[in-house]
């Protein structure tokens, strides 16, 4: 009797082991499956190869969350829905796109007359956006990241009236890389996606310019 039971147990164990083996095989090979890309991973033929995450992700096999500024409508949920408070999403300045305007749509509240650094004229609720005179008529805007809460107010102003050089990005020194990003779940424009960990930024640039991203460990906007 115990022998028969032992035998059945061994049989079941073998069965489960085989099933687990098959499952892991399927998982490993499935995302490498050529069918998951309509060009069979021949990226030279694909027009989307710049933004596509598949081949790089397959090499790297690790992904992180990032939001696509081109899809973002600055709803403000990035500030409120992150599991971190303040949020891991912060405003990032693509300097290469900036017009260095005196009347900055991201810095000033609409309708502001006096272009000075008085707090009541500022759009940013936390005074995280800093304005510095460079030369007539140019001003440089930088972000004090420790103050930024990712509300996107400046981003909205900048993309509505300016060049769109202020953009929201997930900052991976703060981001916990949640299994499912809790902002992604609530983002109305589905701007969030998993991107390859070795290409973690989706900052936008003007077509012909070199990418405005030099990711650096622990680096901040210099």
């Amino acid at each position: 009797m115990p022998n028969r039971r032992e035998f059945l147990n061994t049989l079941m164990r073998g069965g489960i082991l085989a099933a687990l083996g098959m499952l892991s095989g399927a998982l490993v090979f499935r995302s490498r499956d050529k069918n998951s890309c309509s060009y069979g991973f021949d990226c030279s033929r694909c027009s989307k190869s710049e933004s596509c995450s598949l081949p790089a992700a397959i090499e790297a096999r690790q992904t992180v969350w990032q939001l696509d500024p081109a899809k973002c409508i600055q709803c403000g949920r990035c500030a409120t829905n992150c599991v971190m408070s303040p949020s891991a999403v912060k405003c990032t300045h693509a300097f290469a796109m900036c017009g260095y305007c005196d009347l900055c749509g991201g810095y000033f509240k609409p309708g502001t007359k006096a272009l000075d650094t008085a707090a009541e004229h500022m759009l940013c609720p936390t005074n995280a956006l800093r304005r510095k005179f460079i030369e007539d008529p140019f001003f440089e805007y930088t972000i004090a990241e420790e103050l930024c809460i990712g509300c996107g107010k400046c981003v909205k102003g900048c993309s509505a009236f300016g060049n769109g050089s202020l953009q929201l990005q997930v900052h991976h020194d703060r981001c916990k890389n949640c299994n499912e990003c809790s902002i992604a779940r609530n983002c109305p424009s589905q701007a969030f996606s998993r991107v390859p960990a070795n290409k973690p930024s989706l900052l936008k640039t003007f077509g012909n310019e070199s990418p405005a991203k030099v990711p650096q460990k622990g680096g901040v906007n210099a």
């Binding site: 998982l27 499935r30 971190m84 030369e135 140019f138 993309s159 680096g219």
Partner: protein, 440 residues
């Protein structure tokens, strides 16, 4: 002109009753708004002073090799805990091992990546081609299962940070009785079924969303989640490891693999001498007491029971499967694609009726900016609904099967002479071994 799309019996979508002209207009308007990002309204400045433009830098993520370090730590911990449980049989060392795991996987790694949540990544990867599942996540899903298949749930004993955390609170465990244990034991099956259903349809990762402990590991949670965690931990003083026993979806898989484990922790190192010292030593009601009175059942009674079971199983599977499929719309209602379709539908109905436009919700604004057509949104939503129809059947059937097997398990006669651990439910915490007077 798009054809009417039947999203579901309850949500029939009327065709766009707009002229082609206005449609073109909205299309070009949305085109404009998507391009807004890239408009260069002001030229690049040409500086005369020695100003150099700063470079944009954003922080890099955690190094990739660290993910493989996590896998290594998991593997090493599993080896060590298995040795401590099966060879050392020492509660003392198992306890220290669990403290380490709580510190590493819990507070240092902040509960993410975990084997429990990996269920969802695995389900999504199986059903969604474009989702790339990292090797480390596959390892986190598989390693504990393989270890359990050979050595019992040693993972639960001292590697899982959730288990280790709750174990600290088990001060005054009360026996719940086998009936209550069985009934509450259904909940993990429900949780597992729902988690797989929502992950596979790409709707939500509910295990992560309602994870009670991760907020504590990060010292950062909503009030509701803190409350939930607090209630769980406090009730854990009397009901030891409540999450493990009555919620954990991974526990279902571990339970079933552990039943067929090759070598499992035994209470006594040699032979049970029926001293009854261990009888109440398990905080989790996972010790099966001897049943030596052979049940007086006659053969015909047994045959009758077996026949009842063969009818019961398919009956419950069908009933629950049908119920699951009827819940299709309720389930799909939480999916963002379905929600959007409902909003778009309501909007176009309102426009048709000539009502004044309210302020658009963010979802509608984003929809307008995306350049998608209404029919695209509707067909996406109906595809999701279809998935939930099939998924509802499978989910319901799974629950029916679980209930049928549990009922069946309670009906079958048992006979055992010794005090033994219940291989399915035992967490291999090694408490009972201290109570056994027989030493090897």
């Amino acid at each position: 002109m798009p054809k009417p799309v039947c999203v579901s019996p309850g949500l029939t979508v009327t065709p766009l009753r707009k002229t082609a002209g206005t449609f073109m207009l909205t299309a070009s308007a949305t085109l404009l708004s998507t391009m807004a990002m890239a408009i260069q309204r002001f030229p690049k400045p040409e500086f005369e002073s020695a100003y150099t433009q700063p470079q944009t830098q954003i922080p890099l993520p955690r190094g990739e090799f660290l993910a493989y370090l996590d896998v290594f730590v998991l593997f090493a911990s599993l080896c060590l805990i298995t040795w401590l449980v099966l060879k050392k049989r020492s509660r003392f060392w198992v306890f220290f091992m669990s403290l380490f795991s709580l510190a590493y996987f819990g507070f240092y790694r902040e509960g993410c990546i975990c084997s429990i949540g990996a269920i969802q990544n695995v389900s999504l990867a199986l059903f969604d081609h474009s989702f790339v599942i990292p090797l480390s996540v596959i390892a986190f899903f598989l390693l504990p299962l393989v270890f359990t298949l050979f050595y019992g749930r040693t993972f639960c004993a001292g590697v899982c940070p959730f288990g280790a955390f709750q174990d600290l609170f088990a001060f005054k465990p009360q026996a719940l009785g086998s009936r209550l244990n069985t009934v509450l034991g259904i909940i993990p099956y429900l949780y597992l079924g729902l988690a797989v259903l929502f992950a596979a349809t790409g709707t939500d990762f509910i295990i992560c969303r309602y994870d009670p402990f991760v907020g504590i590991f990060r010292f950062n949670a909503s009030f509701g989640m803190f409350l939930f965690a607090g209630i769980l931990l406090l009730s854990g003083v009397f009901i030891a490891r409540p999450y493990c026993r009555f919620l954990c979806p991974y526990g279902v898989l571990l339970n079933w693999t552990s039943r067929f484990s090759r070598k499992h922790l035994s209470i006594t190192p040699k032979e049970c001498i029926q001293c009854r010292l261990c009888e109440h030593s398990c905080p989790y009601d996972a010790i099966d007491v001897p049943v030596t009175t052979k049940s007086p059942e006659t053969r015909p009674a047994m045959v009758k029971k077996m026949m009842m079971l063969t009818i019961l199983v398919p009956f419950l599977v069908l009933i629950f499967g049908y119920t699951g499929s009827r819940l299709q719309e309720t389930f799909a209602g939480v999916d963002s694609r379905v929600k959007l379709a409902k909003e778009v539908l309501a909007l176009s109905k309102m426009q048709d009726a000539g009502n004044k436009m309210q302020d658009d919700s963010y979802e509608i604004k984003a929809f307008k900016a995306s350049g998608k057509t209404e029919s695209q949104v509707y067909s996406e939503a109906s595809a999701v609904l279809k998935k939930f129809y099939v998924g509802g059947w499978l989910f319901g059937g799974f629950i029916g099967l679980a209930i049928a097997l549990m009922t069946g398990g309670r009906m079958l006669p048992v006979y055992r002479t010794d005090y033994v651990t219940n291989k399915g439910r035992c967490f291999s915490c090694a408490r009972c071994t201290d109570y056994c007077p027989v030493k090897s």
